[in-house]
Amino acid sequence: MFLLPTLLAIIFVQFYPMFYGLILSFTNQTLLRVQTVQFTLSNYQKMFKEPQFQYSLWLQFSFIFIALPLELVIGFFVALLLDKPFRVFKVVRALLMLPVFVLPVLSGLTWRLMLQPKYGVLARAFETLALGPSAWLADTRYAYIAILLQDIWRMWPFMFLLICAGLTSLPQELRESARLDGASFFSETVYIIIPCLKPVLSMAILLRMIDALRIFSEVYVMTYGGPSNATMLLSLYIHKQGFEFGNISYASAMGTVLLFLALPLAYVAVKKSLKV
């Protein structure tokens, strides 16, 4: 009885669209309703032959392989540094919380402004340091680096916050006795902190992996997938195919692939979180 409204809502806003997307992916539907709808496999055939699709898919996943480890390492070490009872550090922790909650779209816009070659602060700083080209976002390689930097800037504090929370719940006696036994900072970290934080760490990593598959808005405003598709993540490519070129069915096919790649990750994350 208590579940009924939710189940109805979920069916309407989750299952039905998911199913509908799957069906669309096997049709020749376009944004304009002119054709007679036909069943076809051509979307999938086209997709697996198209280099842009493969490249976009790789870009979307590359956040997991490049940005995520960096975020984890930075978050972990800053959390260790702040793991002392100074009152200032409370303020620091609060300040570091802010980037996580900045709207992704606004973060993207700010980075775009900072990297504007003529008057962006960051662009000018890089120019003085002779770091990269003058227009980062117009360079195929540096545009990608800029997007990664933006992501790292915004999301390492997320790792940091979770690890901080994990550290405070660590048994203090364990760490003290290790220190009394003459354990160095290094061995304390490796043998006590990391094993104890394992559940927290794996949860944080999983959550960020799933996030990585959702990245869209910050890149949309920073580069719109450009220059020459160098930053065309799969999510942006789906949007472009669907709403710029009108290939609704092709966009649905790519969406379906992304969905089926995300599901196993989500499944593992959920299984883990139910156990913890």
Binding site: V13, F101, L106, L109, A165, G242
Partner: protein
Amino acid sequence: MKNKILTQISFVIVLVTVAVEMFPLIVIFINSFKKDIDIWMGKFLVFKPTLQSYTDVLTNSDFPRALTNSLIVAFSTTVIAILLGSMASYGLARFQFKIRNVVILILLILRMIPQITLAVPFYMMFRSLGLRDTLLGLILAHTSFNLPYVIALLLPFFADIPKDYEEAARIDGCTEVMLFWKIFFPLASPGIVVAAIFAFLMSWNEFIYALILGGSRVRLASVAVQSFLGQYAPLWGQLSAAGMLMLIPVFIITLGLQRYIIQGLSAGGIKG
């Protein structure tokens, strides 16, 4: 002695880190008080502060309407998600039935689907239902990610409420519906506060649905803010001012309710 130096070094590292993290925020803040011409000159700190951008945004653009739309959508989806979600997680936490664990599993998984995969079918669905470019359509779309999130977050809260309360209430003649509203809902209120904050923030920060399912009639603030990029020259001053207006409620919530935030984050909150 060695320890003292180490502490000092770590202080410096922390200070630098905070400075780096705050820098982009400071950039938006400062630019919102600049004239566009000063921004285009590229002198970061040399300018006359002015409120011109704020008055322009609030009087000469459709941004106030977009803010109102965003508020309506965020508020409505939060209320819907909390109402339905708290009932559902109450049911899931208290009643044992065969497929209970499967239902929980599915709900939790649904929370994590990339929005873009649903955005395309939503667009086609809403177009034939006449829900595209309406507030109701956006509220429904936002509920699609908020509802599973709320349920996931509230489940442990409802599960932790001791059975004694229920028995005591029953002896006093409490009905099933009253039991939920009078006893369980208030007892789970710490969780409900967290869930409501995050549901609101996630809707406020959301971009994909706002872009695809919104339009000229109903534009949300997250989409309106990037329209200041303009067709010819980006109006960075107004853009920054609009951005600040959107960030203020976010930062007040974040800093004011710090202790709740970690809970919400570890349940997988936040992402546009």
